[in-house]
Amino acid sequence: MTIEPFAPVHLLAVLPEILLVVLAGVLITADLALPAARKRELGLYAAVGFGLVLGVTLLVTLPTVSGGLIFGGMLRHDLIAFAFRVLFLFAGVVTALIAVDSPTIGKEGEFFLVLTAAVLGMNLMAAAADLIMLYVAIEMTSIGLYALAGFLRENDKSAESGLKYFLFGAFTSSLMLYGFSLLYGFTGQTNLYNLAAALTGLPLEASLLALLLVLVGFGFKVSMVPFHFWAPDVYEGAPTPVTAFLSVASKAAGFAVLIRFLLAAFPGIESIWTTLIAVIAALTMTIGNVIALTQKNIKRLLAYSSIAQAGYMLMGLAALSANGVSAILYYLGMYTLTNLVAFGVIVLVGRVTGSDEIADYAGLSRRSPGLALALLVAFLSLGGIPPLAGFFGKFYLFTSVMQSGLVWLAIVGLVNAIISLYYYLIVLKVVYLGTPKDEAAVYPVPRPYQLALWACALGVIFVGAVIGPWVNIAAAAAGGLF
């Protein structure tokens, strides 16, 4: 793949990123300028800002399917990067909306500023085509997320969450960096698309060693086994909007990088890494689902559920086909919508009951039918019940794996989907059939939440009901990589 010489039109390709930097400047200035009584508007500015950037992205930066290498080979401006970018910006909008009325973080300008930076980093992660660009983008995302996870310093759990995330993250990212440096050392190349050719002449061990080290870093991001230990503690301790963002955007960014990196840099050892990924996928979903069965805290439950979901998505990568990758894309899209609904409900319930224990969700349907319904939609979709998006996502993934001949993996996935139904349904049972502890509890739903929850919940239904266009987009985006 050749690197296009710089042309001013390339600036349009990074326009969303430029606008995000501007948004960061606006937010920090607004934080300084707004009087204390109006600080609530900061989150709205952030949400509107992300929304505007999303609009600009959709209107201006639509690339060709296969795209080209721009900025000296630092970025590849292709459809898959575009799709991920839309996903991240959407997650940014929703996260900002559900953080607006939070009593702890809603009025902190720095929170939204760092959130903007994390989204910016993810955008670049999805498009990065060069080891150096990739590393800078990953660090941008990670450092932002460390700060967000530990944002509530007075809260021990949040502080623990931030520190754990940071320690795990720093350790894995140093191993990943070692892998990058080996790749550069072996080949003298930093561009992903030049690595493959340069690696072919080298012994197998070289690629394998680099692959393993690099997988550590990416595996941490997508929380795949055995690099998943951080997820439950971090998810539980972090402020809930941050958990929502972590569970969707950070994971999606990890997948964006994983897909591009493995396909671009290691075609020479395809057979090895697909087997490796297949085994890891099976382990990840099984361990995630089995441990989720025993959870009492809903944030921890969703943490293990998200580990399991990562396992499903890894199947698509193991399939090593355009179908597999497009299934991952579709699944990520629906997973983002679904998880955001779930976490939106958790934020609201947690604010009233002051806890995240599943037992405290008893009888939610009687006190707030709307929230209970949203939770129902989300959990049924996560469990893969037919009319919702989750069902088709799983179906598409399993088919792609079968097409590639990995029948055993599809069976493992199917068994896991059934296991997972059990714990999703238990939560729903508590919500619909339990008796509320406090018969008079009121669950206020402020307007930003209504917007976010409605949009996402309708999205879950819509994406599941009208499959065609989404699958076409996902297939086109995935096609650019093969």
Binding site: T29, L32, A33, A36, A99, S102, P103, T104, I105, G106, L152, E154, N155, K157, S158, E236, G237, A238, P239, T240, P241, T243, K299, I346, V347, G350, R351, G354, S355, D356
Partner: protein, 385 residues
């Protein structure tokens, strides 16, 4: 590499001359400091030993050599001994890249010039910055190894100060570097020849950079009004409280040699170095011009010290970070934009800077009007919002 034997001799001789000049310079700087301060404060100053007290430094040296050398009981001995050395060595070698004059053409024979500087690196300025950054260790470690609270505090203060001002110093240097288009000190001096196609002395076109460099340089060598590390009213004598005899003398020496170093670099970067009338015809004149400028700058430093009171520590840090560093950045941006020669770019940079400056001033005043800030809501929830 085959290098003619006389080159080795030349390097050796030049290194020895440079060291001797710096050591003698140190001795007479102490004399000059006392004489000039005396002049400012209408006293007489040292006048007993030799004409005008010129032998005073010799007497001081003899006294220091015969003083008892104390090592505190709790001190970390190895580092305690190492610290003065780490302080002096960078001070002595920093001038290696500063040219004293233009090369003397055909000194050894046709095509064999004699450069009047120890070395001309193409990264000369980086060399100076890296050597000065090492010098911080001596002061910090000396303070820490003494295992004395005042000394440790003095050491930490000084390193914080040096690290902070090093940024402004480094950025102030960028202006001349960009104008000369090189990091070699020889090229920088050559660029300031007033000749057509060249620049005048950089102090004329980079006055802001020169001012910042001078102030940051004072702070870098811990001179008044920035002599925080040894503020005797607060810290007895700062990092060298526990030092005595020759080890104390080494710290003392380093301070004065660093003064000479900063002055020499200032003269090179902003006052045209060895530039002066007829210097290209008679290269040896360059040495006279160069050292004349250095002495001028040194006298100015002593003058500053005897005139200005010491800054308070927090003011000092605020000044470094909030005034000098942004000013140096602005200088770099404007210089770069102006060098591009594109009116649109320059206009854009200037207008953006204008907006930023106005905004900062506006917010500074808005802050001042409402000093009390809102109390932060207590974290009442167990987890999450």
């Amino acid at each position: 590499m085959d290098i003619a034997w006389y080159r080795w001799v030349e390097w050796l001789v030049k290194a020895i001359i440079s060291t001797v000049v710096l050591l003698a310079g140190f001795a007479y700087m102490t004399w000059a400091e006392r004489k000039v301060s005396a002049l400012v404060q209408t006293r007489i100053g040292p006048n007993r030993l030799g004409p005008f007290g010129l032998l005073q430094p010799v007497a001081d040296g003899i006294k220091l050599i015969f003083k008892e050398e104390l090592i505190p009981a709790g001190a970390n001995k190895a580092i305690f001994l190492l610290a003065p050395i780490i302080t002096v060595v960078p001070a002595l070698i920093v001038l290696a890249v500063v040219p004293w004059g233009p090369p003397v053409a055909n000194f050894y024979g046709p095509g064999e010039d004699l450069p009047l500087g120890i070395a001309d690196l193409n990264v000369g300025m980086m060399y100076i910055l890296s050597v000065t950054s090492i010098a911080i260790y001596g002061v910090t470690l000396g303070g820490w190894a003494s295992s004395n609270k005042y000394a440790t505090l003095g050491g930490l203060r000084s390193s914080a100060q040096m690290v902070s001002y090093e940024l402004a110093l480094g950025l102030a240097v960028v202006g001349p570097l960009m104008l000369a288009g090189s990091m070699s000190m020889l090229d920088i001096v050559d660029a300031q020849s007033f000749a057509p196609g060249q620049w005048p002395w950089f102090v004329v076109i980079q006055p802001l950079a020169a001012l910042i460099f001078y102030i940051a340089g004072l702070a870098e060598v811990n001179r008044a009004p920035f002599d925080m590390p040894e503020a005797e009213q607060e810290l007895t004598a700062g990092y060298h409280t526990e030092y005595s005899g020759m080890k104390f003398a080494l710290f003392f020496m380093a301070e004065y040699i660093k003064m000479i170093g900063v002055s020499a670099i200032f003269a090179t970067l902003f006052l045209g170095g060895w530039q002066g009338p007829f210097v290209y015809q008679v290269p040896w004149l360059g040495i006279v011009y160069f050292w004349g400028k250095v002495i001028l700058s040194l006298v100015f430093m002593i003058w500053t010290r005897s005139t200005l009171p010491r800054l308070r520590y927090d003011r000092l840090m605020a000044f470094g970070w909030k005034v000098l560093l942004p000013a140096a950045l602005v200088n770099v941006m404007v210089t770069a934009a102006a060098l591009l020669g594109d009116a649109v770019v320059l206009g854009a940079v200037l207008s953006v800077l204008g907006v930023v400056v106005v905004g900062v001033i506006f917010f500074a005043f808005a802050r001042r009007r409402q000093p009390a800030r809102r109390p932060r809501p207590a974290a009442s929830e167990a987890t999450g919002p």
